[in-house]
Symmetry: C2
Subunit: 341 residues, 2 copies
């Protein structure tokens, strides 16, 4: 196990001071008026012996780690996994690494993770936050660490955020149902106060109210497992036999919902039309294929990383809160087809 060589070793080899090498490596050769011959000589030796600065020492000294903390609800969810993948890629191109963790929407776990990330001195945060971590997030920002939220945001924080137009997109989805002749439209969603779920509910209600239609809302706890979700949805469907359409609030509710519908032997869209929030490969290949509200994943990731990198390079930390609301697309498929008249 050979010890890696340090800047001091390198300095000894060249018979110069470590300081000089450090200046050269940090692009201060000109500013510090290091002669170009020396610069040349140093770079050549670095190349030759394959010297690499110790990032830990650099971080300890500078306070920068070039690591971004990514906190998502669940890395195994394809929506979050895709976002993670894109963020990883973009961060990597800018010299940043990602440390990630999943919260399971548990605020205690999220706080724990924030503490850990802080211990590790990550430079910035990208978070899909559970409720209840407002204080911790504000603390981070007050301590100079930029935080960008996504998917949902925390109104009582100074954190930047990127979200989508939840209200508008469920409004459009329900309107699409109505235009196609559906009248008894349910919304199966999470029992959650998070902004995105509130928005989705709002859009649903707005559309129904406009047409004076009945509301059928089923709220499911985040902490149920797949099997229980299916049971709840199935019994909700049985108890509301007049329903002719369902909007699902998230992709996994949609998936569990399809399982419930299958169990009940209902036909989509003849017995029950379906739209789900979040597109999924399954929705594309399902028979019939499922209409979905597709979030602009690429654009979300791009904006997230752009804002965060911007903050990281900012000189004065005074600039005010940044946010953006992107527009999802309703991908119309077979499952929400017109009722035969």
């Amino acid at each position: 196990m050979k010890r890696k060589l340090s800047i001091v070793d390198l300095a000894k080899q060249l018979n110069i001071s470590p300081t000089t090498i450090s200046f050269i490596l940090n692009g201060k050769a000109q500013e510090k008026r290091i002669s170009s011959e020396l610069v040349e000589r140093v770079l050549k030796q670095i190349e030759k012996v394959g010297y690499k600065p110790n990032t830990l020492a650099q971080s300890l000294r500078t306070g920068k780690t070039m690591i971004i903390g990514l906190i998502v609800e669940n890395i195994a969810d394809p929506f979050f996994a895709s976002i993670a993948r894109l963020i990883e890629e973009k961060a990597y191109k800018n010299g940043y690494k990602i440390i990630y963790c999943s919260t399971d929407n548990d605020s205690a776990k999220a706080k724990d993770l924030l503490r850990m990330f802080q211990d590790r001195h990550v430079d910035g945060y990208i978070i899909s936050p559970p409720e209840g971590i407002e204080k911790e997030v504000n603390n981070l920002i007050d301590n100079g660490s930029p935080v960008v939220l996504f998917d949902r945001y925390l109104p009582d924080t100074k954190a930047d955020y990127i979200v989508v137009d939840n209200v508008g997109s469920t409004y459009d989805a329900v309107s699409h149902f109505i235009k196609n002749g559906y009248k008894n439209i349910a919304f199966i969603t999470l029992d959650s106060l998070q902004t995105q779920m509130q928005g989705r509910l709002k859009g649903y209600e707005n559309a129904l109210n406009e047409h004076h239609l009945n509301h059928y809302v089923k709220k499911i706890s985040f902490y149920e497992d797949d099997e229980n979700i299916i049971k709840h949805i199935a019994s909700f469907l049985e108890m509301n036999s007049d329903l002719d359409a369902i909007l699902f609030g998230t992709n996994y509710l949609g998936i569990s919902g399809l399982k419930a519908i299958k169990q009940l032997d209902k036909k989509v869209p003849e017995d029950l039309a379906v739209i789900s929030f979040d597109d999924h490969i399954l929705f594309e290949l399902h028979s019939p294929d499922i209409t979905a509200i597709s979030q602009p994943i690429e654009e979300i990731s791009e904006k997230l990383i752009t804002i965060l990198l911007g903050r990281l390079n900012e000189v004065s930390k005074t600039e005010k809160k940044q946010s953006d609301t992107l527009v999802p697309e309703l991908i119309v498929r077979e499952s929400s087809r017109k009722i035969k008249a």
Copy 2:
């Protein structure tokens, strides 16, 4: 931006030496015979002011970062995302964080990532390796960093690994086809020398040979995008109109394959029976649902982290290569149903 307080600050507050605090914090109070009153007093103050050691300084001094580097083919692939999720969870419980990156099966990128992770002094590695990084992996091990491979392994390295019985599972899948009356069975796989793909091919061939059936193998480059994969599969199916069953070598080949089959308006399993490697939520809900070779994801993750943590706690690094081969399960569904006689 308040500066965090250091062990020195704490020592000053208590009018004692930083050394003493360090000993106490590292559980050496007894060994170093620190009086229990002092221990008490120190712990109380730590609690009171919320002192947290700086992990960077600790890492610099000790050479340990408590970070595990996770290198997967693609974090957005549900197989890898699920593994990542489970590994994350188990690592977290043991005080380790995860840094992850995706390789896209690109050995140059993988080498780059290994270098980065090394720069960051990660304590150990979990890798689904592309070919061509044998030298780098051996270097890591020689330098004392444990490496555990999964999904595929590198025969020419000393790295531990966890894989599944690829040969046996595709053998079983093909045998299942044969038992159900299928005779012209294709294997659509990646054009790859990686051990898992070689194994899957082997199992396919073994089963066919046993029954003196024709081989139909289509190898697809890893670097094609979804659209092209579909085209290749579609044209392969058109050119081999006598086929009555297909085994797909990975989940995304299976998914693209289903799209191709849909485009060609073939019925599953009447025109074409289907089995795919790797289970997927889509396979469960597809009509008809798709028979799949399901890998024991939970068990894989468990063994990976167990081996790695074992290595990290090992005193002498002499113990020999560890490996394990787990057994996937063939989940039989509608798509490989018996041909009507």
